[in-house]
């Protein structure tokens, strides 16, 4: 008798917690729904279909070509302005326009995390995975293929070997992002910009080069190649001048070696994302080393090193995104050169997934999954940056609107490719 009572009390308490947690999350979602998580804003796409269209003005006027569903988004970087910008576009524009739900993963740190996140997403009925995390792409693709869930690479690309392996997979939808060549060129142009100004001493932040991330490796290789080209007679990086060789060496080393490249000097190199005190100290030490004029960063340059260059003449060039933070960084001088993604970057890849789930997958003429190339917007002044930011920043009128994307719903491969290739700032403006 007593035991029963106690059991009852206990279970009551526990159910109480459960209830409390349920309600707490409800209210928590309300108060914190400043645009964080689409999963909070639209709980049930099917039943909310009507209201979403009527309430939200701009994007919802056009007809939706297909059925809504849930997309899981894998992110290994959840906090950079670049990531935030693209999330903003997906959650606050696409989600409303197409009545979609985007389920974001936590910031992933390894392939086990990726796999667990995909499992959880599939459990929660995500019909497609948009992956911006690349610890183990093959594992992700295999996992999705096995589960019958569509998979696409956002803001990136598979390397050539992987593409060959997976391009024919039924559930592999493709990728939209800078190709390796584009990444190489981006790094090249960034370094060249300063080399042309006579800068001869650099430091490089190589980010995920240590993880053999091909995007970052190619950017760094481009930078090095530019130095080789500008370094005068006989200049080479570790005895190499050929882009392919430089890339191969970086892949082998996982980092760039410091030293002279002709009459250009690479004084410092830092990679990885340890982000602990020792790492920041190392970074500060690198940019403050005597002689360094410019830090070339594969990403997050002003985020990581902005305070360290504060009050010095060292300039930072970085690949990032068009976001208020970077505009401010450019305005106050902590960022000097920005090769940035814009927030609508993921529009086409969303459409590719949308088509696939709605039974209308896009394939290239050989019947393979497409791999579309897309580049960056580059600005070298605060004004230029501002202009691009203004174009990119208006969530009601994004760079790629619903109408434009809808046109891709039935587009053939060539039309899709042409659309994606037409990303340049001047063209879009």
């Amino acid at each position: 008798m007593k035991k029963k009572l106690a059991t009852k009390v206990l279970s009551l308490i526990l159910t109480g917690i459960m209830m409390a947690s349920v309600t707490a999350c409800g209210s928590g979602a309300d108060s914190s729904s400043a645009g964080s998580s689409a999963t909070q804003t639209v709980a049930d796409p099917a039943s909310d279909a009507g209201t979403a269209e009527s309430t939200d003005a701009a994007p919802a006027e056009a007809a939706v070509p297909g059925e809504p569903f849930k997309i899981g988004v894998l992110v290994s970087d959840a906090t950079s302005a670049e990531a935030l910008g693209r999330r903003h576009y997906l959650e606050d524009y696409i989600a409303k326009a197409y009545n979609m739900v985007f389920v974001y993963s936590d910031e992933l740190g390894d392939s086990a995390g990726e796999k667990a996140a995909i499992e959880t997403m599939i459990t929660n009925n995500c019909k497609a995975i948009l992956s911006e995390s690349s610890f183990d792409r093959p594992a992700q693709i295999e996992q999705c293929e096995a589960a019958g869930v569509y998979y696409a690479v956002g803001s990136g690309a598979l390397d050539a070997e992987q593409y060959e392996t997976y391009k024919g997979y039924t559930y592999y939808v493709g990728s939209v992002g800078p190709s390796d060549a584009t990444e190489f060129e981006t790094g090249y142009q960034m370094a060249k910009y300063y080399l042309d100004q006579g800068v001869r001493n650099f430091a490089i932040f190589g980010g995920a080069t240590v993880y053999r991330n091909s995007m970052h490796v190619n950017r760094v290789a481009g930078m090095l190649k530019a130095m080789v080209d500008a370094g005068g007679e006989g200049a080479s990086y570790q005895g190499m001048t050929d882009p392919g060789a430089i890339i191969g060496q970086l892949m082998a080393d996982g980092e760039a070696k410091t030293g002279a490249i002709g009459d250009v000097t690479l004084s410092g190199y830092l990679g990885g994302y340890d982000m602990d005190d020792a790492w920041f100290a190392k970074g500060a030490e690198m940019v403050q080393a005597p002689g360094v004029e410019v830090l070339l960063a594969v990403g997050s340059g002003s985020d990581f090193f902005g305070t360290a260059t504060n009050g010095t003449d060292v300039k930072i060039a970085s690949v990032d995104a068009y976001a208020q933070d970077y505009y401010e960084a450019m305005a106050n001088g902590s960022l000097d050169y920005l090769a940035g993604k814009f927030s609508a970057y993921d529009g086409p890849v969303f459409m590719a997934l949308y088509r696939a789930v709605n039974g209308n997958p896009l394939r290239d003429p050989e019947g393979n999954a497409p791999a579309f190339d897309i580049g960056y917007w580059i600005s070298t002044s605060a004004e230029g940056c501002k202009e691009m930011l203004d174009l990119d920043g208006d969530i009601d009128h994004p760079v790629w609107t619903m109408e434009e994307l809808n046109a891709l719903y039935d587009a053939d491969y060539a039309a899709f490719e042409a659309f994606v290739g037409d990303y340049a700032f001047d063209r879009i403006r």
Partner: protein, 316 residues
């Protein structure tokens, strides 16, 4: 008194049952893929459950090991390197287990030889092992990862294999813990080391035994980690260390060890935490709120399971 004791004993189990019920109810409402979800839960609990089950032996002694995650990582990395060299899954398995047992042994011997409290030793070992993991990535991998081909372990990445490993190891531990003098003596040591000493039970010997058993679990956990995600990085098993502590405590294991130690605490705790996490996801909580709710439930359950406290001074 008796009833209350019984209740305290089964509180974690009740907690798990409520969580399971909650999972199904909320899952039903949200129309989730329940079958896939259960598989997900097993996948996400099994490593922690295995490692934590072994760790119960250490906790029973009233000791505390926070380096288990790191030693799981080091074992997995070593095993990965061995696979790359030999392409033998069997050797990889053996390596994982042997390395883990050796690391564990080192832990206990260090503690024994230098008479350091186990906890302090494991803090030092945590740093050493983390460093070792980085070194291994440099020596045996690309510096950032050691990539065991997925094909090598794919056939093992199945529900039944994981459950089999967990089940076998759990039964092994269950037997040692409840049906051999080892478990009895360890509980006794945890309850009162001085009295145990005067009952002929050597703390050093049983620490070593506990660490070896735990090392075995760590090795299995490391192997299962590879099976789950064969691309190993510095983040491999990084959350295991703390998850194990949480799981054990959540499962009703007293941190002071002793007679109230339960071998099944780890499994209950590990699965409870996974169900709880999945519920948080289903409720569309953002990770922060989810974690806060988890923390609150954790503290509450532990508080309930701890029972009445009438001491004059605060616990230390």
């Amino acid at each position: 008194m008796k009833v209350k004791n019984l209740l305290l004993n089964i509180a974690p189990l009740i907690g798990l049952l409520i969580l399971i019920a909650g999972y199904f109810v909320i899952g039903r409402i949200n129309d989730i893929n329940v079958a896939y979800g259960l598989k997900t839960i097993v996948n996400q609990s099994v490593v922690v459950a295995v490692v934590a089950t072994g760790a119960v032996f250490i906790y029973t002694l009233g000791a505390f090991d926070i380096s288990l995650g790191a030693s799981t990582a080091v074992s997995a990395l070593m095993a990965g390197i061995v696979y790359l060299k030999t392409e033998s899954v069997g050797l990889m398995f053996l390596t994982a287990v042997c390395v883990a047992v050796l690391v564990s042994l080192l832990n206990s011997v260090l503690a024994g030889v230098f008479h350091l409290p186990v906890f302090v030793t494991t803090i030092a070992m945590l740093s050493v092992l983390n460093a070792l993991a980085l070194l291994l990535l440099n020596l045996g991998g690309t510096g950032s990862e050691i990539k065991v081909p997925q094909a090598a372990v794919k056939s093992l990445d199945t529900l039944w294999f994981k459950l089999l490993v967990l089940g076998a190891y759990f039964l092994f531990c269950f037997f040692l813990f409840d049906f051999t003098p080892i478990g009895r003596r360890q509980k006794f040591l945890g309850g009162n080391p001085l009295c145990a000493k005067l009952t002929g039970i050597s703390l050093n010997r049983y620490s070593v035994i506990a660490f070896v058993i735990c090392g075995l679990g760590v090795g299995l956990g490391a192997f299962l980690s590879i099976v789950y995600a064969p691309t190993l990085t510095r983040n491999t098993a990084s959350s295991v260390g703390m998850d194990v502590i949480i799981a054990i405590v959540f499962g009703g294991m007293p941190v002071s060890g002793g007679a109230r130690s339960r071998i099944y605490a780890a499994v209950i705790g590990a699965f409870s935490m996974s169900f709880l996490s999945q519920i948080m996801v289903m409720l569309n909580l953002n990770s922060g709120v989810g974690q806060m709710v988890k923390a609150a439930i954790f503290l509450l359950v532990v508080f309930i399971a701890a029972g009445e406290r009438k001491m004059k001074t605060l616990p230390r």
